[in-house]
């Protein structure tokens, strides 16, 4: 404490700006500026232009947004509609499981069953894999002829080429891949709940379910809010799973918006970066809107 005030005094003598806090946030601020703020600003600018990544961008005002949002005859309108719809569907299907499954596993591990440490590492491991590795593993699992899943359950299901199985497969893969992150947060939260609460509940004769609903869940509220919002944001950015697992099929039903954005900007043809940027900006706005809504409804109402 003394040292800090000392430093403050020192700075006051030499200049009127207090440099210490800047030094602390400096490195992060710099990275934030270079890798986040500048690209976003540039992205917004590009969305108001027509650009092929090569020549100079031509400023076209809101034309890209108009085309995407209102021009029913345009392929980009269609791309945006189906892409956004599929992205929302995916978020709707995937997020609940991405919360509930890790929560369930964290609670189970919290009871410290035999070998729980091994299980904990096993559950956490998939999050360390790259998505391409994850997809290769699961593509083999879902294979119609040689896949262990069809073999085990004696099925003949075309997992990746039929609905609703394509969605089911995508959700399974996503949950499997992302269990680790949320699970660790829940485990930490569970460890932080004082044991006295449970002892008191035991004396009052509460059942296991009651304890979970009345003590465990409310005590983890802020962690759950945090994970719900972050999981939603990250699932909105779904890309690798449908790209490599279903290729956006069958008949475009799992083609998510980011696939269209990527293809327009960096596809095998000439780049259509303006349209792609505008789509990305609208997607960003959607994500912000959904996240704010979640904050609003899940916040601590005090």
């Amino acid at each position: 404490m003394k040292a800090v005030t000392g430093v403050n005094k020192l700075t006051k003598k030499t200049s009127s700006i207090n440099i210490t806090p800047w030094l602390f946030i400096g490195p992060h601020l710099l990275i934030f500026l270079i890798f986040f703020l500048v690209p976003i600003g540039f992205g917004i600018y590009i969305s108001f232009t027509e650009w092929d990544l090569i020549s100079q961008p031509d400023f076209v005002g809101l034309a890209n947004y108009k085309e995407i949002l209102f021009n029913h005859d345009s392929i980009f309108y269609e791309q945006f509609q189906t892409g956004l719809k599929n992205t929302f569907l995916f978020v709707l299907f995937a997020v609940p499981f991405c919360i509930l499954v890790p929560l369930f596993l964290a609670t189970a591990l919290h009871a410290k069953p035999k070998f729980w440490k091994i299980f904990q590492s096993l559950f956490y491991m998939p999050s360390l894999f790259a998505i391409s590795a994850v997809v290769i593993i699961w593509k083999l699992m879902f294979d119609v002829t040689y896949g262990p899943i069809n073999h085990l359950f004696q099925l003949n299901t075309l997992w990746l080429r039929n609905q609703p199985y394509a969605w089911v497969s995508l959700v399974i893969v996503t949950v499997w891949w992302t269990i680790g992150g949320n699970m660790v947060i829940y485990q930490a939260a569970l460890n932080g709940i004082p044991k006295d609460y449970y002892e008191a509940a035991d004396i009052d004769g509460a059942s296991g379910m009651q304890k979970f609903l009345k003590i465990t869940l409310p005590s983890m509220k802020s962690q759950i809010l945090y994970t719900v919002v972050l999981t939603t944001i990250s699932q909105f950015n779904v890309y690798g799973q449908p790209l490599m697992l279903t290729g956006g099929g069958p008949t475009n039903s799992t083609r998510v918006l980011l696939m269209n954005i990527q293809q327009n900007a960096f596809g095998s043809g000439q780049s259509i970066a303006g349209i792609a940027s505008a789509m990305a900006i609208i997607l960003g706005v959607c994500i912000m809107a959904v996240a704010s809504l979640q904050f609003f409804f899940l916040r601590d109402k005090k």
């Binding site: 000392g6 490195p27 710099l30 031509d58 069958p250 043809g269």
Partner: protein, 426 residues
């Protein structure tokens, strides 16, 4: 003491910031030019097993002690194509020579990104059309200027299971052409034993090859797409029919895996897949892609080609450019290593190599008539067509999407995307 800690803090922060920038600096050096003066930076998309063959070629060349040594920079294909416009735009660290796919040449040329070779070629008497496969060579000639020199021509052919062919239709390969009628004949017998006659593999080359055989063109004037037509319908209808009759692998099945385990008689695939096919136990051969007619002069084999190009760069002076062409000229005479990766070198000098002549993919080059069947689809907007076929082709072949819808939408999507290209309005 207080001063000391503050100093340390500042130094630490500075160090962090500096190391950050140093990190950036390093990464550009890895991919960019401007390193040593006598070094040629060579970008290519060979990150797979073929990357090793390329590295071996470069090592062999560097051992000849050329004035300019080659620095190999293999980038993941998608990353390389993303980086190219950025780097060329920035006018810094532009690679001295780059390998790109033939289909992209027109796009780059129309965007004024390429430097032509014409001023230098007079010094290289052997770098002429007669020493290369015509289709691969001609693609680099745009509006009477030479913008690229071919490394190879890679073809989408047909792998067949020799034992199964022997069983179902022993004379099918007498003429080295498997027609769709023959596939049908095999299919009728094979399906009773739960074996597919034809594997449904990569749709794009399959579709484009048959589409061309049906007389279809991607564009008549080079710009406006002509995709929704009778040829397209005929192409998809044939596939639809074969699926319905049970001659093909089923939706969702992995045709290559099934071929490798002897459950598929014919598998259309690229010659570059050879090294994977080789590892299986089946007794296989490689021939022309499936054809409508048994007449070789009408055959079409979808092909693409890796081409050496020079992206505009002020850092590449005359001497260096010569260094680049020296390398390409050396490759022309030393492409056996490249053939080992399964590819067909574009340089015809390979035909004098006995080892090459025994390679399965040599079928496409040995006979000059065969060379004429190789077709590169160089429509300027081929990329947009590919994207559509990748997204909708499988659905259309298996009938989950109607042929009419698929073709109408392909025409629409490609047209709408082209409308965004400014290079047409110049």
């Amino acid at each position: 003491m207080k001063k000391m800690s503050r100093l340390l803090l500042i130094l630490g922060t500075l160090g962090l910031v500096v190391s950050l920038f140093a990190g950036c600096g390093n990464s550009t050096k890895k991919t960019g030019a401007g390193g040593s003066k006598n070094e040629i930076t060579f970008w290519n998309p060979f990150t797979g097993p073929d990357g090793k063959n390329m590295q071996a070629m470069i090592d062999a060349y560097n051992k000849t002690n050329p004035e300019y040594k080659i620095k190999n920079v293999s980038l993941k294909e998608t990353d390389m194509y993303t980086k190219i416009p950025t780097v060329v735009n920035s006018k810094k660290n532009i690679p001295d020579v780059t390998i790109v796919h033939a289909e992209r040449l027109k796009q780059y040329k129309d965007n004024h990104m390429l430097t032509a070779y014409d001023d230098y070629l007079s010094d290289y008497p052997k770098m002429t059309g007669e020493n290369y496969v015509t289709e691969a060579w001609n693609i680099g000639n745009i509006e009477n200027k030479r913008y690229s020199i071919p490394l190879d021509i890679h073809t989408f052919g047909l792998y067949y299971n020799k034992d199964l062919v022997e069983k179902y239709l022993p004379n099918a390969l007498d003429d080295q052409i498997v027609t769709f009628d023959e596939i049908k004949e095999v299919g009728e017998k094979a399906q009773k034993e739960n074996i597919a006659s034809l594997g449904v593999s990569w749709v794009k080359p399959n579709y484009l090859s048959l589409y061309a055989q049906n007389g279809g063109e991607l564009s008549k004037d080079g710009t406006t797409p002509t995709l929704d037509n009778a040829a397209g319908k005929k192409t998809y209808k044939l596939w639809n029919n074969y699926v319905k009759e049970g001659y093909t692998t089923k939706d969702g099945e992995d045709a290559t895996q099934l071929f490798l385990t002897g459950k598929v008689v014919f598998l259309p695939e690229g010659i570059w897949m050879q090294n994977q096919i080789k590892q299986s136990k089946i007794n296989w051969g490689l021939t022309n892609a499936p054809q409508l007619s048994a007449d070789l002069s009408q055959a079409v084999n979808w092909s693409s080609s890796h081409q050496f190009v020079l992206f505009n760069s002020k850092e590449r002076n005359k001497a260096k450019t010569k260094g680049v062409i020296d390398f390409i000229d050396w490759v022309r005479d030393h492409s056996m290593e490249w053939a080992k990766s399964g590819q067909n070198p574009a340089s015809l000098s390979i035909l004098e190599n006995e080892e090459y002549k025994k390679m399965p993919q040599a079928i496409f080059l040995l006979d000059p008539e065969e060379q004429k069947t190789l077709k590169i689809f160089d429509y300027k907007y081929n990329g947009y067509v590919s994207e559509y076929l990748e997204a909708h082709g499988v659905d259309t072949i298996f009938g989950t999407e109607s042929i009419d819808d698929s073709l109408v939408n392909m025409q629409k999507e490609v047209t709408d995307k082209i409308a965004k290209d400014k290079t047409n309005n110049e």
